[in-house]
């Protein structure tokens, strides 16, 4: 008989070790599956590494992909800490991208409006649109007890159709499924913009969005680990009843956390259109909001670990675009998530086999 016994306090090295082991095991399983369907796993993996970290140019592209992942990953980690299952970062991202685009295309601002006005307005609009999209499931959960998993998921589809309406309809450029390219004033500064002074930077597309993401990470870390809010959030996540007795207004927290989570994802959408794509288009997100769920879990909800996980998944998304069949990255993500779940079980429990188990039971 095999038996699980709770560990008291797992040793500090165990969790990171098992996390790394889980990723390795997932890649091995992924390789076996790839080989079974007739692919060449070694070639695929080497391709991913080369296409994501091979030289400074692709490394910069990896960071561009990691930027929205850090922000959406933080959005998920924040909500998950309170055991609020915000699966809607994808929709909040889309709304944020739309909100930022609305400032450029829908407000009728005069041509040549300076970046110093335009960029903050886009950030505000993106974060606000995302926050509204997070607020809806938050208020429904807090006031009516409506399951947030379903509402956030459904709002993803609504958000997608909303963006499609604008890029196919009012903002379509020449009948294509995309808007016109934004004016330069609406672009976030990129490394390549400094290429004249620092030749190393020329051609590099990493943009200021990465700085936003790192600032958000730092703020998130301080709030979670150094303030009363962070303490109360952890308390609510671990033991809602105890939190209620302690006089914490759980409902208000739910709404506020959902709105902040949505704002972070919305800012990710803004950063993507203003920093990387420079227009709104149908396929603006290759599933950043969904990958963010795995990132939050891989990071054990820790803000700095979200950054590390985002770079890994940024690499997978960047290199995965060229891998055929197209389902491979999603499949590997699924396998990684399962391996992480199992690793988590081994962190919390000790596996006991044989007679001792029978005696213990």
């Amino acid at each position: 008989m095999i038996h699980l016994e709770p560990r008291g306090q797992p040793p500090r090295w165990l969790s990171p070790l098992l996390t790394v082991a889980a990723v390795v095991v997932a890649l091995v399983i992924g390789a076996v599956v790839l080989a079974l369907v007739g692919g060449d796993p070694l070639k695929s993996y080497l391709h991913i590494v080369d296409a994501a970290f091979g030289d400074i140019g692709v490394l910069s592209d990896t960071l561009v992909k990691a930027t929205p992942l850090i922000l959406t990953g933080l959005a998920c980690a924040l909500a998950f800490r309170m055991r609020l299952w915000n699966i809607g970062a994808e929709g909040q991202f889309l709304l944020g991208a739309w909100g930022a685009s609305f400032v450029v295309l829908g407000l009728g601002l005069p041509e040549g409006t300076p970046a110093i006005v335009l960029i903050p307005a886009m950030m505000l609009a993106g974060a606000l649109a995302g926050a509204i999209w997070g607020f809806i499931p938050g208020i429904l959960r807090a006031r009516l007890g409506v399951n947030e998993i379903i509402t956030t998921l459904m709002l993803n589809y609504v958000a997608l159709a909303w963006v499609q309406f604008w890029v196919f309809g009012p903002w379509s450029e020449g009948g294509f499924q995309q808007t016109a390219t934004f004016p330069r004033e609406a672009w976030l500064p990129r490394l390549t913009d400094f290429g004249k002074d620092i030749p190393l930077f020329s051609g590099l597309t990493t943009h200021v969005g990465l700085v936003f993401a790192l600032i958000a990470t730092a703020v998130g870390w301080v709030v979670v680990s150094r303030t009363r809010w962070g303490y109360e959030m952890r308390l609510m996540g671990d033991n809602a009843a105890a939190a209620r007795y302690a006089g914490i207004d759980i409902r208000r927290y739910i709404v506020v956390i959902f709105a902040i989570s949505g704002a972070l994802a919305g800012l990710a959408g803004m950063s993507e259109v203003a920093g990387s794509v420079h227009r709104l288009q149908d396929r603006i997100s290759p599933g950043y909001g969904f990958t963010a769920i795995i990132i939050a879990y891989l990071a054990h909800l820790g803000p700095w670990r979200v950054v590390v996980a985002s770079i890994l998944f940024g690499a997978l998304i960047l290199a995965g675009r060229e891998i055929q069949p197209s389902g491979v990255p999603a499949m590997i993500q699924g396998i990684i998530l399962f391996c992480l779940i199992v690793a988590d079980v081994f962190t919390r429990y000790r596996v006991v086999a044989g007679r001792r188990a029978a005696a213990a039971a």
Partner: protein, 318 residues
């Protein structure tokens, strides 16, 4: 002009997809296991339908759904992992593997579908006959039979009583000699089997063709939402499923019409306003879940008490 009978008949057919998935999820959740992997299991079922022979495809689809749900069962029942995360992982895995397997499959509808039947006498019944019993896929009729059977099984039989006990008071069920682990495994597998069947219903009966993720297009998630609206009752799930089936069908048909009540139809295929139509089912799910949640609050009933909580003998549930 739109023929209402034809739309409703097609709505019933399309509702059958949601029906199988929702009833499957009801079985799993009634046993206390939340499985959010329905979308992934349906995609696996949908792709397994493409195996040449439709009957073999049907069988493979159910096996594929069950195989995927077995992973969820092991991880959540034996390893006591968080059911929400495991279910999400199942969706990623299912959709990824399905897309890998479906690579290169055609969207043109080249596969053979399951036979369609008209029931001799019943189809003559005024109003309902042509909607329910004329030229429907054999799977639609399976759906008609499944609803009362599922209701009877859950509410009126001994195994059904055990099922409910395991979902509500697993410790009490255990004390009565019910094998909680075995019951949970069994119904999670039944849920997977039905989700696979739901996926196969898309490709083998309703709209043959492979469109990647868009083959299922969120219907797995809609089914999960329907379970809440249905208050975990197969009969209410059927009502919801056919209603949503009709909505999906209506949206599809409306796009093929040139003029509407004498006006130019703004929702014709290819026009941007159609995207507002496409939002409808998803927005409607939100409404329906709000209704379901309010009702649950008011009547103080709702989800099975042990839903989402792993069972360990001798430990008190959280």
């Amino acid at each position: 002009m739109i023929d209402l009978t034809l739309i409703l008949a097609a709505g019933v057919a399309s509702g059958t997809i949601l029906l199988f998935a929702a009833v499957g999820e009801i079985f799993a959740e009634r046993a206390g296991v939340l499985n959010l992997g329905v979308e992934g299991m349906m995609l696996m079922g949908a792709v397994a339908g493409f195996s040449g022979n439709p009957w073999i495809g049907l069988l493979l689809a159910m096996l594929a759904g069950a195989a995927l749900s077995l992973i969820h069962a092991v991880v959540t029942i034996h390893l006591r992992a968080e059911q929400v995360i495991s279910g999400l992982a199942l969706t990623f895995l299912g959709s990824g593997v399905a897309r890998v397997l479906g690579d290169g499959l055609s969207s043109a509808g080249s596969i053979e579908t399951l036979p369609r039947l008209t029931i001799p006498l019943l189809s003559q019944v005024p109003l309902l006959g042509p909607i329910l019993f004329r030229d429907q896929s054999i799977l639609t009729y399976v759906g008609f039979v499944l609803v009362p059977v599922a209701w009877y099984w859950i509410d009126r039989t001994r195994p059904g009583l055990n099922l409910r006990a395991v979902g509500e008071r697993p410790a009490a069920a255990d004390a009565q000699g019910v094998d909680v682990v075995r019951v949970r495994y069994a119904y999670v597998l039944v849920g997977g089997l039905l989700a696979g069947l739901a996926g196969a219903t898309i490709t083998l009966a309703i709209s043959p063709g492979w469109f990647g993720d868009q083959t299922v297009a969120g219907r797995g998630w809609i089914a999960v939402g329907l379970v809440i609206f249905a208050q975990w009752s197969p009969i209410r799930a059927a009502v919801g499923a056919y209603l949503f089936g009709a909505i999906f069908r209506f949206i599809l048909d409306l796009q093929g019409v040139k003029s509407l009540l004498g006006f130019d139809n703004p929702f014709q295929a290819g026009r941007s306003a159609t995207f507002f139509l496409e939002m409808l089912p998803y927005a409607f799910v939100v409404l329906v879940v709000i209704v379901g949640s309010r009702e649950a609050l008011r009547r103080r009933v709702g989800a099975p008490a042990a839903l989402g909580i792993p069972y360990v003998r001798g430990e008190r549930g959280a």
